[in-house]
């Protein structure tokens, strides 16, 4: 396989796998946050904060993917 192809594959694995991981984590936290918000709307801020924390994973994945692509 050509080097460009391997790089594209590596970048897609980096962003894809981290996005899936972030998705799984956010699904769990999100459902709990929505339940808390249903009880008391004041939890919106905290709920949102907790829910988006795992997004960092995807951001790291994105950065690695970009580093691979634009090396």
């Amino acid at each position: 396989m050509a080097e460009a192809g391997l790089m594209a594959l590596a970048a897609s694995i980096a962003i894809g796998s981290t996005a899936v991981a972030a998705g799984i984590a956010e699904a769990h936290i999100g459902s709990a946050a929505v339940a808390a918000m249903a009880e008391d709307e004041k939890f919106f801020g905290k709920g949102l904060l907790m829910t988006v924390l795992p997004e960092t994973l995807a951001i790291f994945g994105l950065v690695i993917a970009l580093l691979i692509l634009f090396k």
Binding site: F44, V52, L62, V63
Partner: protein, 642 residues
């Protein structure tokens, strides 16, 4: 009006205590209600004071309000909430309390008329139901209902609605040995359904079991007959009777309906004013328990914006010269209601704090900062002249169609500003619905997003560095203001120092600076980590990488925009291919794809940048300084949404 454009803190509040002779109770209540400045705070510090009571009959007003609301809801299905919220800041109830009471009988009569109208409608619907059932049986050959009811012949009757008429017919022929004597079928064109009446002398359950596949439902004919026998013995009699009764009823119904509508239309404004007045009166007296009284004294305490001090004093002096008033500055640590007020352009951005949590009193209110940064981030992500224009038109329509002050209306105003920012960045990026030219005019982008991805992500991260450090600086400012110098250094400045030392270290390696530079950088790094440990303990040490992830998080500003432009690019490539085909079908396909594709992308373009921009504020920015959990300033005299 005073300008609050650059106000970084909630409005300054003062604590106020007012006491009057009990005879002046009503005057004080009315004055404070009309003034709409005092946020009443219940106090239990004076044991001799009991909960205040009023002579006015709150129950009468509440009943009137409930009745009027149900009348208005019934008559037009109208949203009576909107009427009340349309004028929440009117200085006085439109009608006096005594005048309102004059309407008591009027509302009762109106309600009675509506009740009568409802009864007539129910009766009319019932007659229709009888007509349909009698007509159905008549079409199926039944005239004398008592034959079925008395059943002297020992025959059984089954009424069915059919799934498949032809198959039912085929199978029925095979069931003669089961005791079927005859049957009739009738098609109800309105319902688009076939009905069958079977007369048999066999086992009903067995027959149904064998026909089950071809029928929708078995109707209980004996119940239907019982019901119809109340109106007559034969279907013909029933139909004649129902037609006559219905004709008379229609006339009565129409007459009453017209009367009620006419009455409502001629007094619509009056009724709306009455509703608003009632809402104010009920609102005024339901909060009376927040006032206190003793045998001779009437007392209230709470908070007012300090700037309204003179307004309050002037209004109270009109009640009596003997009013006891104490106005003082609030103490540190006191839980004070928060009033956030800015200019009319900045005010809509308050909606983001309403959704999240209001800041505590004395802590920074970032509304004015969001006024600059939210549209900036939004525009940077969307960055397309065409999308910006569509979004602007959409936001403008939404703004004009929604009630002023509502969450949607405020969001529409925010979106309007964000669309202007999108157009600005669209010009910088040279994009119009993803195209790089518009009607033959080539854009000359300052930053070509698809071609200069590295630069785009770099600028995004630079935005992040500035935004996060602005948050930290605000945190330092806030803590210095309250003389919490140690916290300012260990919890806020330490993070800035951490960034400087890491940056210095990297720069030193990249530029091959003399070794002592690295030592200085390492020392700064150790110092910053030490300060973080002192300020935040082990938690702070574990969270060291969070500053990196926070900054990198801003890469989304470029990345989300890239995904939007990539979608637009793919749509345009296909559109161009269809156009190049030159055929009529190709042109039609191009137009459909262009409209559908870009509509989809605009929808994504509205939601994506909005959520990502908001998230950067809530998660990355607010966490550096924001103290949420403030209590909303809610002055006595303002109607609350229910």
């Amino acid at each position: 009006m005073k300008s609050y454009l650059f106000s970084l803190f909630p409005e300054k509040m003062c604590y106020v205590r007012i006491a009057v002779e009990k005879s002046l109770k009503k005057k004080l209540i009315d004055t404070l209600y009309d003034l709409k400045v005092i946020h009443i705070e219940e106090t239990n510090d004076k044991e001799f004071l009991k909960e205040a009571k009023i002579e006015q009959n709150l129950e009468t007003y509440s009943d009137m309000l409930l009745n009027l609301e149900s009348v208005l809801k019934e008559i037009k299905g109208m949203d009576y909430e909107i009427i009340a919220i349309r004028k929440p800041f009117s200085t006085k109830p439109l009608l006096s309390e005594d005048k309102v009471l004059n309407y008591e009988k009027y509302i009762d009569d109106f309600e009675k008329q509506l009740k009568k109208l409802k009864e007539l409608k129910d009766k009319y619907n019932n007659l229709n139901k009888i007509y349909i059932l009698a007509e159905r049986l008549r079409k199926l050959g039944v005239d004398n209902l008592s034959i079925i009811k008395e059943n002297k012949s020992g025959l059984g009757f089954i009424l069915l609605s059919l799934k498949d008429k032809d198959k039912f017919f085929e199978n029925l022929k095979n069931l003669i040995k089961e005791g079927i004597i005859s049957f009739t079928i009738y098609r109800d064109e309105e319902e688009n359904r076939d009905y069958a009446l079977i007369i048999h002398k066999g086992d009903e359950e067995n027959i149904i079991k064998k026909l089950n596949e071809f029928i929708i439902k078995k109707h209980n004919i004996y119940d239907i007959v019982d019901y119809l026998l109340n109106y007559g013995n034969t279907t013909k009699d029933i139909l004649d009777k129902v037609v006559k009764e219905r004709a008379a009823l229609v006339y009565e119904l129409k007459e009453l309906e017209e009367k009620v509508q006419k009455e409502y239309k001629s007094r619509q404004k009056e009724l709306e004013d009455l509703l608003l007045s009632l809402k104010h009166i009920v609102n005024k007296y339901t909060q009376i328990d927040k006032f206190k009284e003793s045998r001779s004294l009437f007392y209230v305490s709470g908070y007012i914006p300090c700037k309204d001090k003179n307004k309050l004093l002037k209004a109270l002096s009109k009640i009596s010269p003997n009013v006891f008033i104490e106005i003082k500055e609030v103490k540190k640590g006191e839980e004070v209601p928060v009033k956030i007020e800015h200019t009319r352009y900045v005010n809509p951005f308050k909606v983001f704090l309403d959704i999240y949590a209001l800041p505590k009193y004395r802590y920074i209110d970032p509304t004015v900062l969001m006024f600059f940064t939210f549209p900036l981030f939004y525009g940077f992500i969307l960055g397309d002249v065409g999308y910006g224009l569509v979004l602007g038109i959409f936001a403008y329509i939404l703004k004009t169609k929604t009630p002023k002050g509502s969450i949607i209306n405020n969001l529409a105003k925010v979106m309007l500003l964000s669309s202007a920012s999108s157009i600005f960045f669209g010009l910088l990026f040279g994009e119009f619905f993803g195209f790089e030219s518009i009607f033959g005019y080539e854009f000359h982008p300052i930053l070509h997003r698809m071609g200069e991805i590295k630069e785009l992500i770099g600028i995004s991260i630079l935005f992040g560095l500035i935004h996060i450090n602005l948050g930290l600086l605000l945190g330092i400012y806030q803590q210095i203001r309250y003389k919490e110098y140690k916290h300012a250094v260990t919890e806020k400045f330490s993070w800035i120092l951490l960034q400087i030392s890491v940056g210095y270290l990297i720069y030193g390696y990249l530029e091959n600076l003399p070794t002592y530079h690295r030592y200085v950088a390492y020392m700064l790094l150790i110092l910053s980590i030490g300060l973080i440990y002192i300020g935040e303990g082990l938690k702070g040490i574990f969270e060291l990488p969070s500053i990196l992830s926070n900054v990198l998080s801003y890469a989304r500003l470029g990345a989300v925009g890239l995904s939007s432009i990539a979608i637009a690019y793919v749509i345009n490539v296909f559109v161009e291919r269809f156009v190049e085909s030159g055929s009529v079908g190709g042109y039609i396909a191009a137009i459909v794809l262009f409209l559908l594709g870009h509509t989809f992308n605009i929808l994504l373009g509205i939601i994506g940048p909005f959520l990502h921009s908001l998230r950067l504020h809530y998660v990355e920015f607010f966490t550096k300084f924001y103290e949420g959990g403030g209590k909303e300033y809610s002055p006595y005299g303002i109607l609350k949404k229910r």
